[in-house]
Subunit: 303 residues, 2 copies
Amino acid sequence: MGILVVGSVAFDSVETPFGKVEEVLGGSGTYFSTSSSFFTEVKLVAVVGDDFPSEHLEFLRARKIDLSGLQTAPGRTFRWKGQYGFDLNEAHTLDTQLNVFATFRPRLPAGFEEAEIVFLANIDPELQLEVLQQVRRPQLVACDTMNFWIEGKREALLKTLRHVDILLINEGEARQLAGEANLVKAARVILGMGPKTLVIKRGEYGVLMFTAHAIFSAPAYPLEAVFDPTGAGDTFAGGFMGYLAASRDYSEAAMRKAIVFGSVMASFTVEDFSLRRLQSVVYSEIEDRYRKFQALTEFAGLD
Amino acid sequence: MGILVVGSVAFDSVETPFGKVEEVLGGSGTYFSTSSSFFTEVKLVAVVGDDFPSEHLEFLRARKIDLSGLQTAPGRTFRWKGQYGFDLNEAHTLDTQLNVFATFRPRLPAGFEEAEIVFLANIDPELQLEVLQQVRRPQLVACDTMNFWIEGKREALLKTLRHVDILLINEGEARQLAGEANLVKAARVILGMGPKTLVIKRGEYGVLMFTAHAIFSAPAYPLEAVFDPTGAGDTFAGGFMGYLAASRDYSEAAMRKAIVFGSVMASFTVEDFSLRRLQSVVYSEIEDRYRKFQALTEFAGLD
């Protein structure tokens, strides 16, 4: 099985009330593939510049991520600079340098087109569709997007969504995409656009999953030390899709477990800058925190 | 068993994006006692003016609420006027007329001082303590408060909190009371002020309960029609305390169930203006929605 992911590999510079880092490893593809690598095999399709250091490549390879779809282009790697205030739910972008990402055309190496599970991280919806059309018979397709594409490339996004099984977006983006303030109504509108499952990410308030017939609510793990929320959403998606790929079960019950695994992975990412915590975490800690999510949410039924 | 509650009885004028009402029945004591009356006996200590209509008294009596502690004073009943935008989590107060509430001194009628369970709704912490001191041997004391008292009467509030078992407050108020942005750390600070249990209300994001050893997270019920959030917090408290009183069990497991019953009651209140939905709801609907909370939150354990 395994997952094919297309996304960004980047250098992030981030400032939060708790510290500051310059040019650390980041990017949606990086967070996603690292997170999902705890559950399944991952093939990463992305681009870096010729300034990308071998130590980062070695880290990704050590996580058994297939990098044969990672292009190296002449020029500088994608860079993002952001800041968070005490409200860690909202990132303020200070600078975005697309660099080699500006002319990126995803190409799938031999074998990648047989992928059964595809995750289209938050990139131009036209590129998302371009990747998807290169995959022969995808069994499960999920994607992320953002306000920038909802506003600027709505038609292309709607076209991509018709081929997507699961859409993962933020709460504000769900309202914006649907043009509806009430989330339950917004979810119904979005489920009419193509996806059979909608996963709404609410930062420290957790996740809501909508299908045609059910809603599932999962909290975020209450942490004493939230250092940096950068990458939390992509880490969530990586744990979510990684568990689904490993279980080969796409039922609603499996998706609920997958949401909790995604939330577990995201709870580690925010404990430190960049991918530091994902570099140290071991699988027994993941299972331990899964059990803590159970303890956090369980209550008895009626007598 | 049963509960003694001291709080406000008021006329509310409310405008939300979905409609507008003038001088409808409201007040923390009203919402709390109506909500808890579905589970247990309630004794209400409050004051109204001589303009308070008998139909409202009849409604409260029909809910078997003991009104012998409800004083009628010469003058006008307490009035509150507020507005909500599309972000229904935040009320904008347009006008507050204390009227007879300005000179209210709570007096407990004979028998009330034997109450075993006490809820001190959001009023001046000096009045909260005055009521509490009139109760002989309270077994369980809970209270609510707000930013106005946290800023303006901090010493009196801290004195009251030393006698309180359960504090129920909003997320922003918890941060303000503790002087700490991180909720987990804020909770630890507040648990050091006296309460053994802290219930943090987060509006549409649900509730977090903290004790010395555990955290419980419950979502709010995702509704398609949220008309008016006025009274949701007091309705929550009424369901929460009402269930505890009825079960005579104050264990952590019971408190988790109580949180869900409180959330169920609040989910009805916000479906219409004033207490309209609480006037029509029947107990089988409460149980039915409790089961829906289970369906909303359940997920399987590790294999």
